[in-house]
Symmetry: C2
Subunit: 164 residues, 2 copies
């Protein structure tokens, strides 16, 4: 951080070492720059990255529909933010909201035919972006090792989020 | 993606293998959930993650000031988005805008004394969060390997962004 910063924190959490700091900054950079680049490459299709994620989730769900609550959990969004997004996507004809007969609590998001076709059209381009900017830059060993390092971190954060 | 998706894309970019897909999803999850968690743990200090990043950048700069253009590049934001953020941070007393005598083009963001004190107060807590949710979950080998995998990806994306 800063050359004048103390050696350790108030309650003795040590500062990041040079190597830890380098990794942390690289992680932040990849995370932000990749989002930027993927958003950019989805722009010609009038989709944001979050829109694409929702199309994928719905396309993989039985009958291409998901309860709004489950979709919020799956896409790591708050219910209110998801609701705004679904409204925008509904206007674009990509999804529809549907109630469920016999389930008063149930409000579903359903992929429309147009949403399905959009997903099928965009997917190859998006996969190419993901390969080009990330996956194809890693060898097989790196892919396995990085997955093994990240999976438990993701699992723990998911659990924390669920509790919050 | 979807069980009915084709084996390869239009122009023969192959779909992600199961292992590639697992890594890609783990990366996205860690990226999103970590941002969420770090934001959450900065909330008691009335700071967003972007605010904290700017405090750190300025605190490391000579005379704790940076040209707005350079600060935008360093924090990977558009100039207009940075400008809005600096306005908010100015209102909170954390930074100030300053012109530069003899340099008509130069508009600087400067860390105030209050901004500096805020950074010093918050840093130990933020480092603890970063350790707790990410760095301390990795062993030394994983830290080195992940850095070596991510650094060239970050460098390339930075270059692409610069060109855009």
């Amino acid at each position: 951080m800063d050359p004048t910063a103390p050696e350790s924190t108030e309650d003795d959490v040590p500062w990041l070492t040079a190597q830890e700091q380098r990794l942390w900054r690289a992680h932040l950079e990849v995370s932000r720059l990749l989002t930027y680049q993927l958003e950019r490459e989805l722009q010609p299709f009038d989709l944001a990255l979050n829109d694409y994620t929702i199309l994928v989730e719905l396309s993989e769900a039985p009958q291409r529909r998901m309860r709004m609550t489950d979709l919020a959990t799956a896409t790591l969004q708050s219910k209110s933010r998801l609701s705004h997004q679904i409204t925008r996507m509904e206007r674009a004809g990509l999804v529809a909201r549907e109630g469920c007969p016999g389930d008063r609590r149930g409000l579903y998001a359903v992929l429309t035919q147009q949403g399905w076709e959009t997903m099928r059209k965009v997917a190859p381009h998006h996969v190419r972006s993901v390969r080009h900017h990330f996956v194809d830059r890693l060898d097989e060993g790196q892919i396995t090792e990085m997955y093994e390092a990240l999976a438990p971190i993701a699992a723990r954060l998911r659990e924390l989020r669920g509790r919050g």
